[in-house]
Amino acid sequence: MIWEVFRRGRAGAAFEHSGSVEAPDAEFAEAWAREQYGRRGESVALWLVPRDAVHVVDDWADEFDLKYRRVDGYSIKARLKEARSRVGSTERRS
């Protein structure tokens, strides 16, 4: 059985996928992952997850322009320049 190993490197960090071990059960997976991913004190915690239990999502539809809900959908430079240039000039809108 393949077990995916996620490790938290230090307090406050997120778990990061770091590799995998082949082991017959959770006990062996733990004993082995402890040493392979922790013998230098490089992990404060591990998550061991059977590969089969991981639900993979790796495709998206991106057919229509949905930029309005992302930062890269906005370009405010030109308008900002215009607004700043009007401050202090006589041309003001009432």
Binding site: G19, S20, V21, E22, E35, Q36
Partner: protein, 296 residues
């Protein structure tokens, strides 16, 4: 994307692929062969050093050498897992290693004769290996590139340990100094062959597929740049009268014995048969253990 040309452009532009992605058959085959040879090398590299674990002259050296060899086994595990996820089962790789069908690096076919070898291997052979490993950090195959990060991080103590062992001896008794020089004399040839014969970039499939980011000759030059000064500053001699850095900053040296390299990696090294037989003996002997673990 199942278009070989598009794939080539993608990886040559710095793109990386994952285990489940489509890849051209040639890419997959070359990659697997390379990864498998690397895994085999880590595994076989354990054997020359292992006997010295039992003979280490202080507790500190015993612990450090055991930890170093442990790392190598750990690296073998990481790399075999990458090869397994590429589709080749571990048992098949062990079978091909034992039968001689699959290869491992030249340096691990040679005997270790003294504690001097222990120092030279940890200091210089590991240094040569790390240069190769760093050239894999940007490998187009992402799972392999990722484990190389962990491997390079763990290897950093190996070289320091090796250098410390050497320094203790070259500042010890004259006999200890001689042990180091004698070991260096024996290992220099294999070290110069280690990175392989020079291949023009446009003929190098490892470069073409962006598996490696550095050619063989480039790696060798980097090794000489880094380590010849370290060797000379200790009062040791490099056993190659032609070795020198020319006006263009390029190292010149006696032509390595490429015939010897080929002869050794095709399974005819001084210790090849003995070490493979040793591996085979323990694999066979402990098959019942693996069977017992798999049985529910």
């Amino acid at each position: 994307m199942r278009d070989e040309q598009a794939f080539i452009e993608y990886v040559q532009g710095g793109g990386q692929v994952e285990a489940g992605d489509w890849m051209p058959d040639d890419y997959r085959a070359k990659l697997l062969k390379f990864v498998e040879m690397h895994a085999n090398s880590e595994l076989m590299g354990v054997l020359p050093e292992r006997e010295w674990i039992l003979r280490a002259p202080t507790l500190q050296r015993k612990l450090a050498l055991t930890a170093k060899v442990q790392d190598e086994v750990g690296h073998a595990q990481l790399i075999y897992r990458v090869a397994e996820d590429l589709g080749k089962p571990r048992d098949a790789m062990f079978a091909d290693l034992i039968s001689g069908k699959a290869k491992f690096h030249n340096v691990f076919h040679y005997p270790t004769k003294t504690w001097g070898d222990v120092g030279v291997i940890a200091w210089l052979v590991d240094a040569a290996a790390i240069i190769s490993q760093k050239a894999l950090l940007k490998c187009s195959y992402a799972p392999y590139a990722r484990i190389m990060k962990k491997i390079c991080w763990e290897e950093s103590f190996h070289i320091l340990h090796g250098r410390d062992v050497i320094l203790a001896m070259v500042t010890g008794t004259p006999q200890q100094f001689e042990l180091v020089q004698e070991a260096l004399n024996r290992w220099w040839g294999p070290l110069m062959q280690f990175h392989g014969n020079p291949i023009p970039r446009d003929e190098d499939p490892m470069w073409f597929w962006r598996i490696k980011s550095q050619g063989n000759e480039e790696a060798r030059q980097q090794f000489l740049d880094g380590y010849v000064p370290q060797i000379l500053e200790l009062g040791l001699e490099v056993p190659d009268p032609k070795l020198r850095k020319n006006e263009e900053g390029v190292w010149e040296y006696s032509e390595p014995d490429w015939a010897e390299l080929k002869h050794v990696v095709t399974g005819h090294g001084p210790r090849t048969a003995e070490r493979l037989a040793f591996r085979a003996r323990f694999l066979e002997q402990e098959q019942w253990v693996r069977d017992a673990l798999v049985a529910a």
